[in-house]
């Protein structure tokens, strides 16, 4: 009885939370189809929403992106990334996975995301306007 009266009293809360939860669960299921987690074959790097370059996922390497040419102690592969909070962002491709190896921004928001080895799950560094994502041949519809 207590439970029933509780439910009656909070019916709008239960409905609101229930409907929202159902939508989120549906999105969970939808994600499996919209963003299939497959083993990709290349890494795409975006800066300011523009594709900088794409790299072979099977070739291990570390790519250094610099704010300007004056990044001391680093040999820059790409420069003039003015939005960077710090001098460099280093992307490591190793054993079919990617991770931000070095990052000089204050809160390390990019490197705490760890390494990613499946497609369609990006590493997003919003303060640096930088994004790296593994893509595969089957996910061509998401390519810009």
């Amino acid at each position: 009885m207590k439970f029933l009266s509780f439910c009656k009293k909070h019916i709008s809360d239960i409905l609101a939370i229930g409907i929202t939860s159902a939508v989120v669960i549906a999105m969970f299921i939808g994600n499996i189809f919209w963003f299939p987690k497959t083993k990709g074959d290349k890494v795409e790097v975006y800066y300011q929403n523009k594709l900088v370059d794409s790299f072979d996922i099977n070739v291990d390497r570390t790519i250094t992106f610099c704010r300007d040419k004056s990044a001391e102690g680093f040999s820059c592969d790409y420069t003039d990334m003015k939005d960077f909070q710090g001098p460099v962002v280093q992307l490591q491709i190793k054993d079919g996975s990617i991770k931000i190896e070095e990052e000089t921004s204050k809160r390390k928001l990019c490197s705490i995301q760890g390494s990613i080895s499946v497609s369609n799950t990006p590493i997003i560094c919003l303060p640096n306007s930088f994004m790296a994502v593994i893509t595969g041949k089957s996910e061509a519809e998401f390519d810009n």
């Binding site: 709008s12 609101a16 963003f35 303060p127 994004m131």
Partner: protein, 176 residues
Amino acid sequence: MKTTKIAYTALFTALAVLLHYIEGLIPVPIPIPGFKLGLANIVGVFALYYLGVQYYVVSNICRVLIVALISTGFGTAFFLSCGGALLSTIMSIVLYKLLKCSVYGTSTVSACFHVLGQILVYILITTTPYMLSYFPILAVLSMVSGFLLAILADILLKSVPSLKQRRGYKKQRDKA
């Protein structure tokens, strides 16, 4: 708007800005881009139930502007903040006014819509849909944190005397 309520709105806005700053000092416990505890939302929800809709809207607008002015600037973070605040504010008002939800329903659902607003703005800015893949996990985490914050807001609402009660105390004190 009444003077007392305006004063409270200013106080709550300052408190929300302070909580936003404190939250920035706490290391992010979960490595998901965009995840935050949303401590400032306690103040928002409290303002909605304590002061009313218009004061809640003013407090939210002021908070977003002040945080941008003193901390994040008017760049991408500001637009994300605007998107999240806009959608969560609209949803809170709908839940509070139309569905007559309690602080639990409002806080939990509006936290989810805050995330949705931010993700939609992010997709508009970057024109890439990838961030949408984080939505379900971010939504679940934000709903859990929204519910936990609602417990705190509920405790505050029950323990802090309402404005009517405060006026009653003042009248009694003046008579004495």
